[in-house]
Symmetry: C2
Subunit: 211 residues, 2 copies
């Protein structure tokens, strides 16, 4: 199994075994190798930056919510937070706007090869996705099977339904394959997830505003 998360050369050396991954290989410095060695979050952040620079979409990751209790203001230096606590999030990690559509999504990864455990999602994320769907947002999850280097953009409706299903603790890879748009990690952007969003928008428009 490939080590994960990994930025080590070990991953790179293995590339002869997986020739198709090398299609985006670049010899310049500081260039990512099709997202290799990056976490899913890094891949999405890079893609969001690309989309923003190209004026294709404006999507940001939300900061981690923190309850600040004590702040020091040292002379000739910037403020230092000396006591703070993590707060419960009430939303998903990402939202933004694309061609007038509201996008909202959560990204999760697993090392598993055959299924994705639903406990990766928290109830507040599921509830938030439900709320946004009711407001006609384009809501989805990006699921990374990191050992397989496969990435899926899955409509929130599928994950919500699975999450609330009694005694269902995971979704299988084949279920994810059936309900998602698979995205190949590339060079620019690292994870071109708007391709999947375009599919969802087309589907919605065909279904008369229903997703």
């Amino acid at each position: 199994m490939v080590k994960y998360p990994s930025g080590s050369l070990a991953t790179f050396r293995k590339s002869t075994e997986e020739p198709k991954i090398r299609t985006n290989f670049q010899h310049r410095k500081n260039v990512s190798f099709s997202g290799r060695g990056m976490t899913l979050e890094q891949m999405i952040n890079e893609s969001n930056k690309y989309y923003r620079l190209k004026e294709m979409a404006v999507v940001h990751k939300k900061p981690t919510p923190v309850q600040i209790v004590k702040v020091d203001y040292p002379k000739r230096s910037r403020a230092v937070i000396r006591e703070a606590y993590f707060r419960q999030e009430s939303t998903t990690d990402y939202n933004g706007v694309y061609k007038g559509y509201y996008l909202d999504f959560e990204a999760k990864e697993t090392k598993n090869k055959t299924n994705f455990p639903l406990k990766n999602f928290h109830e507040h994320q599921i509830v938030h996705l439900e709320e946004c769907l009711k407001q006609q947002g384009i809501c989805f999850t990006i699921i990374g099977f990191t050992s397989l280097k496969r990435y899926f953009v899955t409509p929130a409706s599928f994950i919500i339904k699975a999450w609330w299903t009694k005694d269902k603790s995971s979704v299988t890879l084949s279920e994810v394959e059936k309900w998602s748009v698979e995205i190949k990690s590339g060079f620019q952007p690292t994870l071109p997830y708007l391709i999947a969003v375009d599919h969802f928008i087309t589907d919605r428009n065909m279904n008369n505003g229903k997703q």
Copy 2:
């Protein structure tokens, strides 16, 4: 001049001088008096909560971005952040979804009575609003003239134009009146800003997708 921000009884005692404010007076505990004594941020947060519970819109304030450097994990107690720094924000404070529309806004208040200083907005907020406008988001600012207890929902396009105008350091109250939808603070929600958003949506649809 009314003290601000104020939750003190002094404000309340003055209410006989301003009888129209009392229309929403309630004798129950923990009930806000039409937003009196609340900051603009508190009013918006309360309104967002109301809109969410009523399934009218899903809008959240983004957490303050913090760079976390050191975290302690005490036994039998939750994690404590012991060193962290404020990071530069890259967006506005609020975004969300309403009837399929992407909403993005910043809220600012002034104690001034005749003008609103543009230095209240930071460049990154102006740039972010521009980016979201290009993606057809509904972008605006909520400006509170707290001494006057007047609240305006102002299209981002007006503020952006004023902000980039050389030698223009503020917008006058009459300019704000001309370009905005004024919102009366009420009981539920405290600041019914979606009324203004409906105006913007109607205007946009009349103008064929242009705002």
